[in-house]
């Protein structure tokens, strides 16, 4: 994270203030603040899976978490592709709404959960499907696994 910020922030004084915030007791809280997010850009990734055009929107908050955890865009795109292929193979139609995808990154072999919102599907008009990507619980040591099974 700090290495990334050093490349983004030319103002050494500003960088020093942010470094202090991140190293402080409230560093994890500081990461969630909206004024911290402008240092992270949102991005759109277009890809074609099974002849369908998809547009993944990675918001600034998600980008920040990806950088924090060393998760590349390629890893996220790979999981999304596997998700689409899994749904096709299992005859599950992807519809508008929220999905939680439990996975592992192929390169890091670590559990990685993607939470996505399928915002729009408009096959008829030939428009891209749009999906917003969030990174869910990625670090198992800090994650509370929820089970309702008795």
């Amino acid at each position: 994270m700090l290495a990334y910020l050093k490349n983004r922030i030319a103002d050494r004084e500003q960088l020093s203030i942010i470094e202090d915030e991140l190293r402080s007791e409230d560093g994890t809280d500081f990461l969630r603040e909206p004024e911290f997010l402008p240092y992270f850009s949102a991005s759109n990734v277009e890809l074609v899976v099974d002849n369908a055009s998809w547009q993944l929107r990675i918001i600034a908050y998600t980008n920040m978490r990806m950088i924090q955890r060393g998760i590349s865009q390629e890893i996220v795109v790979d999981i999304f592709k596997r998700f689409v292929e899994f749904c096709r193979e299992n005859h599950e139609i992807i519809i508008v709404g929220a999905y939680t995808i439990f996975s592992k990154s192929a390169t890091q072999n670590k559990p990685l959960t993607l939470r996505i919102d399928v915002d729009a599907i408009s096959d008829d008009e030939g428009k891209a499907h749009t999906v917003t990507v969030f990174v869910g619980s990625g670090n198992t040591e800090e994650t509370v696994f929820i089970t309702l099974e008795q």
């Binding site: 918001i59 596997r82 439990f102 309702l148």
Partner: protein, 124 residues
Amino acid sequence: MIIENFIESTQNLTVPERREVLARLLAEQQGEEFGTIWKSVRFSKNLRVIAYTPEQEKFVEEVNKLLQQGALVRIENQADGTCEIYGKERTFYATISEKSELVGLLSSWSLDNPPREINLTGIS
């Protein structure tokens, strides 16, 4: 016994569907007994609710009001502060900072349309 019967009656639901139902009907302490982390939160008027996606902007006021009245949340990741906030008819996925009274809205869904869960962990 009533609670056991009630939980038994939700066995045919998917896990996300059960969460939507149980979160609204089980008390915090009872929820913990089933291995979940449920927590009730209540914020002051200093609460800041911010939409981190444009789609959530229309829910800012609703979440602000909800959390000032007090609501049940399920913690997903303590380090990130990510959790699900259970409203009356809608669930919100957000990052919460209790100390600085900040809620960043990421996603939301209606009670009858919880997230579908796909498990790819065993698939290469």
